[in-house]
């Protein structure tokens, strides 16, 4: 708890942050085309050019479940202060074809720019700031038409007022694997775009570039990458998982790096096997995890109970996406909040953490391993598509892989009458691992006594074991909430996960609000939330689902029914600052 860095900005912005204004301290550039046309790489290179110019960046990819030929766009939002969400209106739209222009023109700010490929789009009406550029023909002249994404990138880099010279190295690194010729042609395509002459296009970012001109040491990564790196730092030795959007990056990131640190990544036949493998490895003494999304969590629900009953640690990341069933694999939602807390038949202890920033993604994975060892139960880490996939510049101090103490929790000492499931005061029993002398025990999904012997006939044993398992999370040491903004504010916005970023941006112009971020969904930090909401006249809970799952959780734990309002969005896209702001006024 306490003041956060970003508080300095609360209320300091000029009016019009959510409207059209020249004084905005960030700009949103959108590159739109078909999947497979290099929209992603163009956005990525632009982001790196901005980052190397000392600016802050936040990128968001909107993509369809179509590998080639679907409509996709890559948003690159550039600013002088940390950019925490994908923003409101588009300042520059690059449309590689007419379909993109038609579907996205409504998102463009009134004074925003539209750059389109005049070789691909015909009969475009004359509009101020709409510029047709010969992207395809230019690309053909330097290499191949497929490089028109790089021509467009060059043009927008110039328009944005960014330094085109920074691009060469970035492009070369990006295409290195494809050979010197491809890299060189792409660089030339960029150059051609950068040099394209269009008198109307006046660079609009110079003010920002100057503001951020001093080179800063920044990292640029997504929530998924931060989590994968957290696993490495936490000494995870096995990742078992099944590919699923939007969680797959975690597996792929670790598949490259975990083996270099003595660990394994196993792609399993299904999510059932994934969590079972994690449980097997944890039982045998190593830290193991899995990451999935809704459909995978549904399959893992069976093994969640096994982890709970056998008191075997497990770390499970759930990158939420809209459900039920397959739902919308590539879109955003926070619809599994209740599922993560209550899924499974029967009752047992579990912990559900909810990171809301890139840094928290890293720290919560580290914490999850620690808590899983300490409380010997499953620990779920609730991410969501927006938090997981958008990439953002952050200060390196947000990730600190060097000062992580690996604490394996209560371990049995040899020769002291080892009972694996001893009913201790805190319910947590000493652990032993196969291979150790004199510690033989049976871990069973059937009810068992303190030694692990299966016992389903003595009611007293059942009662004691249930109580022991349930009291294990009575005292959980993890960050339970954070609050931001004006401490004296009587209006409180509440949220978790990716809502944090957009809420913090809204807070910059809402001095009479504070934001309470729920950092741990379970065990629900009722006392802390109660204290944070005390005296509030208005409490608005913002979340991405129809049922108001977080609001319902708060209501079930705290008597604040009358003061609590619920703000819900469930169309598959994250809140925009303006949208959230307007909902808060209602």
């Amino acid at each position: 708890m306490g003041f956060q860095k970003n508080r300095r900005g609360a209320g300091a912005l000029a009016k019009g942050e959510f409207g059209v204004s020249k004084t905005r301290d960030s700009r949103l550039i959108r590159i739109a085309g078909k999947t497979g046309e290099g929209v992603d790489s163009a956005g990525d290179i632009l982001a790196h050019i901005a980052k190397e110019s000392g600016l802050e960046v936040n990128t968001f990819r909107s993509f369809p479940p179509v590998i080639k030929g679907g409509n996709t766009h890559h948003d690159v939002r550039i600013g002088v202060r940390p950019v925490l969400c994908s923003g409101d209106d588009v300042d520059v739209l690059i449309a590689l074809d007419g379909e993109q222009l038609a579907r996205l023109k409504r998102d463009v700010a009134e004074d925003g720019w539209v750059l389109y490929d005049r070789d691909a789009v015909r009969d475009v009406p004359e509009r101020k700031n709409w510029v047709g550029l010969p992207l395809k023909s230019t690309a053909r002249s330097v290499g191949a038409p497929v490089m028109r994404n790089m021509v467009a990138l060059g043009a927008v880099t110039r328009l944005a007022g960014l330094d085109g010279k920074r691009a060469a190295g970035i492009i070369r690194a990006r295409f290195a694997a494809k050979g010197e010729r491809v890299a060189e042609e792409n660089r030339r395509a960029f150059e051609a775009g950068y040099r394209m002459h269009e008198p109307r296009m006046k660079p609009f970012l110079p003010r920002m570039s100057e503001a951020g001109a001093k080179e800063k040491d920044r990292l640029f990564l997504s929530g998924n990458e931060a989590m994968a790196f957290g696993a490495l730092a936490a000494d995870c030795k096995l990742f078992a998982g099944y590919p699923i959007t939007p969680a797959t990056d975690i597996m792929e990131w670790l598949a490259v790096r975990l083996p270099r640190f003595g660990g394994d990544v196993v792609q399993t036949e299904d999510e059932i096997a994934a969590l079972c493998m994690v449980i097997g490895a944890q039982y045998a003494g190593v830290r193991a995890m899995t990451a999935t999304s809704g459909p995978g969590i549904s399959l893992m629900t069976e093994a969640l109970g096994l982890s709970g009953m056998t008191e075997t640690p497990a770390v499970i990341v759930n990158v939420q996406r809209p459900g039920p069933s397959a739902g919308m694999p590539t879109k955003h939602e926070q619809g599994d909040i209740q599922h993560m807390i209550f899924a499974s038949h029967g009752e047992f202890s579990r912990i559900v953490l909810a990171p809301g920033t890139i840094g928290e993604c890293f720290r919560d994975i580290v914490a999850a391993f620690h808590l899983a060892d300490r409380h010997q139960c499953p620990v779920l880490v609730a991410s969501d598509q927006d938090l997981a996939l958008r990439k953002q510049t952050i200060d390196p101090s947000e990730l600190d892989p060097e000062n992580i103490a690996i604490d394996r929790g209560k371990l049995a000492a040899p020769g002291d009458g080892f009972r694996r499931y001893a009913c201790t005061d805190d319910g947590i029993s000493p652990r032993a691992f196969p291979g150790q002398e004199g510690m033989l025990f049976l871990a069973s999904g059937d009810e068992h006594d303190e030694e692990g012997k299966i016992d389903v006939e003595i009611p007293e044993v059942r009662r004691r074991m249930v109580e022991k398992r349930m009291r294990k999370i009575r005292r959980v040491e993890s960050e339970s909430l954070r609050w931001y903004g004006n401490p004296a504010a009587h209006r409180v916005l509440v949220g978790c996960g990716s809502v944090t970023g957009v809420a913090l941006e809204v807070l910059r112009r809402a001095p009479d609000w504070k934001f309470v971020q729920i950092r741990r969904l379970w065990p629900f930090p009722a006392r802390e939330v109660e204290a944070a909401l005390r005296g509030a006249e208005r409490v608005a809970v913002a979340e991405h689902n129809e049922g108001g799952q977080l609001a319902r959780l708060i209501r079930s734990e705290l008597p604040i029914h009358e003061r609590l309002r619920s703000i819900r969005k469930y169309d598959g896209t994250p809140f925009k600052p303006r949208e959230l702001w307007e909902a808060m006024q209602g």
């Binding site: 003595g262 096997a273 994690v278």
Partner: protein, 283 residues
């Protein structure tokens, strides 16, 4: 040295005459013969009558879920390759609810021994039809008789590319012990199907019924167990009613082929992590 008594935990509660007693004894004997100590071993079981075996076999044990023995056992092997891991389940466990895992464990060639107690019925829930029940089998769940073909475990294992396939009979503890011992010594996934008669619910597949029909391939002159095509032909010819070592071939285990073996673990890991961080996230 250990004796098979070192591997005795609780007294089994299986029905008198159950084939599972023979399987338990054979595993205990094989473990002792192999010079293992209970601390070096982990037995993973599933759910059903067969699943109870972890309460009776003394070693580290993991009594998991119905059908999930193999992924749990795989996780254990990956965590600690010094452990000898035996997964044990019934035919419902392995060929019904957990069949998917069987095929993939075979493909991976994880170094563990998987013993299936095959009894043609769901004994623990009182005799319902199993994936191995004969066509026409009448039970509480198929009162008009089963109309599905039974799973053919040996053919399935061969088709999946198994590197060790054996079949035993609970009544022949000597042969079964030898097969289990060889399975434990085999690098990779050793699959052993064991006919284990359910004396309570299956009145057809009795010890005598098996004795009349089983063909011992270990005694079959000229049988080449290294040739999967010959194995498949033989198994099919006898309607899977064979015992002995059916197929064995050499292939490195999953564990041995893992990419981590290509790297030396970095020294000064904490420093390395910071390097990794800047290397990856600043570029």
């Amino acid at each position: 040295m250990t004796s098979s008594r070192d591997f005795v935990r609780e007294k089994p509660t299986w029905c008198p005459g159950c084939g599972d007693f023979g399987v338990l004894k054979a595993i205990q004997d094989a473990a002792a013969d192999s010079g293992l100590s209970p601390e070096d071993m982990v037995m993973v079981s599933g759910i059903g009558c067969s699943g109870k075996i972890t309460s009776y076999f003394r070693s580290y044990g993991f009594h998991s879920m119905h059908g999930r023995t193999l992924p749990v056992a795989t996780g254990i092997r990956l965590a600690n390759p010094a452990l000898k891991v035996i997964a044990v389940g019934g035919d419902g466990d392995g060929y019904g609810i957990g069949l998917n895992h069987l095929i993939h464990a075979i493909r991976r060639n994880v170094d563990l021994t998987y013993i299936v107690m095959h009894n043609h019925v769901y004994g623990n829930t009182k005799g319902q039809t199993a994936p191995t029940s004969d066509v026409g089998y009448v039970s509480g769940s198929t009162p008009m008789g089963a109309i599905e073909e039974p799973v053919r475990p040996l053919s399935l294992a061969l088709a999946s590319g198994a590197t060790f396939v054996a079949q035993g009979m609970a009544g022949n503890i000597r042969q079964l012990t030898r097969l289990i011992r060889e399975g434990m010594a085999h690098e990779g996934f050793a699959f052993i199907n064991v006919f284990s008669p359910c004396v309570t619910y299956d009145k057809k597949h009795t010890y005598a019924w098996y004795k009349e029909r089983l063909v011992d391939l270990d005694e079959c002159e000229g049988y080449d167990c290294t040739d999967p095509a010959a194995a498949f032909a033989k198994v099919t010819q006898h309607g899977e009613l064979v015992t002995g070592l059916i197929h064995r071939r050499a292939r490195p285990s999953f564990e041995r082929q893992l990419p981590k073996h290509r790297f030396q673990e970095r020294d000064g890991k904490r420093m390395a992590l910071k390097d990794v961080m800047f290397e990856i996230f600043s570029e």
